[in-house]
Symmetry: D2
Subunit: 274 residues, 4 copies
């Protein structure tokens, strides 16, 4: 889940919504895993230098501190993630968002056969970045590959190269490449979302409609009345069943939310570079 | 879940069974809560003095230590519990089993309106027991009430008085009494199970059939072949869909598993005593 | 530790000072316990409604989240506490600050023989407050007694009655009263500090000198140059060995830091009321 | 700490001794760090297949589960470790003992400049072992290097090669090699201890004197009376100040405790192999 727009208390979106992320941690409706109880994390931009981060191995639904922080931290741009491990340890260093300088990264998905590919992928990471890998997940390796390939200049392009490498490495091991990647990235200004899977059966990803359209469609909805021009929410699952409120991000595509909330789409095609 | 019989590794029953307790922590089929991820606990009799106990706030499905301990601790009598909080904090002191001397106690259920009744119930606990209340749950208060009322002499009788008091206190507050109580108790020799609810719509509770019958019904099942005379398992949900393997404990009844595995049933009728 | 003054990042006082609270968690110089590693907590006023709170059972020195939050939360008024348990469980509900509405409370000290007194003290708490006791510490009981006795009208006066009751209850049990109480309280506007012990050998408590005096004494100190009129820090141990920077709060006295930073002292004399 | 001898409850050595390991976690007398509160672990051989392990990020002194397990698990051979992190995260996967098949490994010490050397050292690990690295410590890398170099055939020899590689890699980076390594290893039968540091200023390491000598020296000591032939304890710090009870393991040496408790010493000289 990712928000870009007016500054809001985190709880507005994490707790005070039907089918919000905390609810999804306990009862996901669209996810591969119906329970996402293996930790969570939230990263936000606001007070202080660079993004702040709170991660915990507790299930999000029961973490008293998350509820406190969400009620007392406001931010115009934040990302949140609930985790269902595909095997790696339940520990804070494996919780998203991952961070590099001003950049935050959340990944809903998996690299199939990661144990077999792990070493080869780790070797491709820029040696200067290697010591900053603190956990043991596929997602953190994918993030560091993207940083290696120029995330800071062109996030979707760097991810195309990173995922291209993963797929190529799988093939080199005689394995069918199988990357699932619903990804959110931010530098504190813009927000990127990627929806991709090797099999072209990606997990769902939705962006909220612009405020003006929502006000016109649902003139009497008090929650929507508070939305302003430029507010955008990216989610794996719609927060509420509201007609016209969400448009699905297309399979194999990337989305940029600019500073003014404008959306820009582009195709997402992993590629191998030498 | 409770086991009484030959000494087995805890993992045999916690992990190596279809629909075992760990599986139930993630996907309960019959419970009120489909996810029981707010901590867990296991208590066992064996090496050392009195029962040992391991409790954790992690979801049982992801706790690496539980898997280790279950693979390296064997016991002829143990109780295990997965928790879904009805409001009190997720902390070890709120995890079952509760303990008093050699006695262990697990409770699957709830005392409705507990916050309103908490103080009155706590005052009924024997003052010498008061300081040993370490957590904040309805279950721990219920246990200490039962100890106050003679749990060590007559566990079902003490529980009838304890639950009678809870129901009476609710009525005194102008509330409809609503106790849900699937309970397991042991002193290291015998095992008691109680199934009761004020509304007579109790959560499920099952006891395993005796080994001889199971061997006759399923002569080719290798797991069942390992069962011996006197082995008994009490569960909230059957571990596997095996014909004749389970008989449901009747509504409003108590069950004793004696040292030789013999089952004894009796009615369970909460009563108020002055 | 408590701060009242200009809005600062929590890390300024928690981490970026010699002998700061985090350092004290590992190596206290003046405390009864040299290690305060049984959890910690911080409560602050700022964004959102009422005080926010972050508590953890980890030692403060190693908690990655505390470091993150301290770097990204700013506040003009906050209290922090590191804990060394005197016996009760290491769990978040036992970590300070305790909270009631807008009020925060931290206690460095102990009620001797608390297990014997616990029940009697708990019964004196206003029954409507009883369900909000979430943990098992002497400190939380003392706080709720003070709320019962009018903390919101006169914090030191309510504490005089609360501690008077504790001492009287100890005597009624044939015990020598022994309360140790370095206490910090706030309602979000003012800040109170109390230094008291039954034996008149209280733990240390210091208040920072006013900014003007500090600027005159140490004209070349860049840290002190940032202090403004009205800034006040209350600590158990001085943060740095700086001449004239701290004045010790007198034995058996209370201190109020008003909205403009002005200090007011009064005697603190526990008393029994019927 | 490591024990090899008659089967004892873990608590006998972890808790029921003056200056035992749990006490050392709070107040180490000889260690570089006076507080070892960043998690702990214990590994033991006994019931079940292979070694069992319990690790936690809590300080050992306050972990309720450790106290329970120590009172209810008996073992003839176990290793325990308390951790003071030199920078890597406080998480269970960073807690000792590390394990490979039947082998357990504990390391009290540090590889200086590990972040700079990490990648080069990780590349030397047998690729088939790479995916089993679950944490981010220098100790776990050192262990996997030793496994790569034949730990299962000759533990001290494999460690000589592993540490030789570390020192050589440091030199290749233009750094002064600085390995501190008090190490305990077991396969469930024998126990190895290594004391080494690049600067030849190793942390302390002691082995207990044989039972017969201890009985003769201290005929009236009831604790020592329970010792039997073949019992051996290896510790970083002596458990009690008892004349003749401990002999220090020499600088740059390795020690084997055979199945009958006999001690064998050999020199320990890291070496580079190509």
């Amino acid at each position: 889940m990712a928000w870009r727009g007016q500054s809001v208390l985190l709880e507005e979106l994490l707790f005070n919504t039907k089918h919000g992320l905390i609810d999804q941690s306990l009862h996901s409706r669209m996810g591969v895993e119906t329970t996402n109880g293996d930790g969570f994390g939230v990263g936000w931009y606001g007070t202080g230098t660079g993004p702040g981060r709170y991660r915990s191995v507790s299930p999000a639904w029961g973490d008293a501190n998350l509820r406190e922080l969400a009620a007392h931290i406001a931010s115009p741009l934040f990302l949140a993630h609930v985790r269902a491990t595909s095997g790696s340890a339940v520990q804070e260093t494996n919780c998203h968002p991952f961070r590099h300088g001003d950049w935050l990264f959340v990944h809903n998905g998996v690299i199939a056969d990661f144990p077999q590919l792990h070493r080869d992928l780790a070797l491709e990471i820029d040696p200067s970045l290697y010591p900053s890998i603190a956990g043991s997940t596929d997602s953190e390796v994918l993030f560091h590959l993207a940083v290696t390939y120029g995330l800071e200049d062109d996030p979707p392009g760097a991810l195309e190269r990173a995922i291209g490498l993963v797929e190529d490495t799988a093939r080199a091991h005689g394995l069918e490449p199988a990357v699932q990647a619903s990804i959110g990235i931010s530098d504190g200004e813009r927000l990127w979302a990627v929806r991709y899977s090797s099999e072209h059966r990606s997990r769902t990803l939705f962006a909220s409609t612009d405020a003006e359209t929502l006000h016109r469609l649902h003139p009497d909805n008090p929650r929507l009345a508070r939305l302003r021009d430029g507010d955008r929410l990216i989610v794996s699952e719609p927060l509420a069943d509201l007609e016209g409120a969400w448009h699905e991000v297309a399979e194999s595509s990337a989305l940029v939310v600019a500073g003014d909330g404008a959306l820009e789409h582009r195709a997402f095609r992993p590629r191998v570079t030498v």
